[in-house]
Every structure is written in structure tokens, then in C-alpha cells.
Symmetry: C2
Subunit: 105 residues, 2 copies
């Protein structure tokens, strides 16, 4: 089992987090994580090549937006909601409001 590096919340950088969130596919991944909780790193119904998806997860993980853990042969991903809310208060809430309310309403 490999443990991937994750930044400490104190090291979160605003520009890096905003850049990580500033992509439609990565926003869709964040939206699913917020809705579904922990998921595999190969979510269904996304027409994105595996290598591209892997790159998106890396950008999100390195920015501090998601945590990735390995369970057997599976990688499982969660949203680092508490860390983001503590370090950058209000940011994730504003993004998720738009992803949920904005799309449905």
C-alpha cells in the first residue's frame, strides 16, 4: 500500500485551491464527493480518459481538496471538507451552493 502525500491545512494555498476547483471536470468530481461521500477514483458516467482523471485527482489532492487512501487494489477518495472549512472558511460552501442550488434551481 502506497500512501500519497497530502498537504497540511496550514500549507493550503488559496490560488492553488482555486485553480484546482477551476475546472468543470474537477468541479463535477467535487460535486459527487459532496453528494455521495467516499467514492472510488473511477466514478461512473464520466467520459474522461483514465489518465486525465488521474491527473485531475492529483491536482485536487495536492491542493488539499481531496484525500486519497488505498484499500486493497482500490483507491478511495473523500472531500477534505473540514480542513477546507477551517483553513478557507466559506469557500467550499459557496462552491457547493452553486453546484447544487445553482444547477437545480
Amino acid at each position: 500500500m502506497r500512501t500519497l502525500p497530502h498537504p497540511h491545512p496550514e500549507d493550503f494555498d488559496l490560488a492553488t485551491v482555486l485553480h484546482a476547483l477551476g475546472d468543470p471536470v474537477r468541479l463535477e468530481l467535487v460535486h459527487r464527493l459532496a453528494r455521495d461521500g467516499e467514492t472510488t477514483c473511477s466514478p461512473e458516467g464520466l467520459s474522461v480518459p483514465r489518465s486525465t482523471l488521474s491527473n485531475h485527482w492529483r491536482i485536487l489532492r495536492e491542493a488539499g481538496v481531496v484525500a486519497v487512501r488505498t484499500s486493497g487494489k482500490t483507491r478511495l477518495v473523500t472531500l477534505r471538507r473540514d480542513a477546507l472549512d477551517t483553513r478557507l472558511p466559506g469557500l467550499l460552501a459557496a462552491v457547493l451552493d452553486e453546484l447544487t442550488g445553482g444547477r437545480d434551481g
Copy 2:
């Protein structure tokens, strides 16, 4: 006088706004606009080439983050605070909290 195109708030796209904000130089420009109000498009003390700066302003304008108007030979830039607050509530506030409180505190 040329009038540059600006998106209507209804057309603001979350990923595009986050991408526009997700760069250290563009965040610094937004920080200055929030602090100083309307400024010229060539702020002092930024060691950024003029063409690069022009590109940053274009990205911010096209996303809806700033408004640019021409006065004589000068271009003046403002933050579209009301439009952002209306269309993406809480987002700009969270970013500015970090830019001001986060840096000073």
C-alpha cells in the same frame, strides 16, 4: 473609445470564475481592487510584463470578475463585487477574507 465585452451575471460560469481567481498574480490584482477601488490597468509595484498583465486582465474581465472602462487613453478597472455577490454568493467574500485576514493575521 473601444468598449470591451463583459459577461452578464447570469452567464457567469463557476469553473471559469474559479479559474480566473486561481492564479497568484490575478489574486493580487483582485486584492488591490478590493482595497483601492478603481485603478488603472498598470498598477505599481508588480513585476509582471505588460503583455502578461494584459492577459491577466482579459481573463478576469471575461470571467466577470472585473469591469474595464476606457477614459481617454487610460483603462480603468473595477471589481464587479455586486455582480459576483449576487450570482455566486459568498465566493468573493471567502477569497477576500483569506487575501486580507489570511495575509495579515
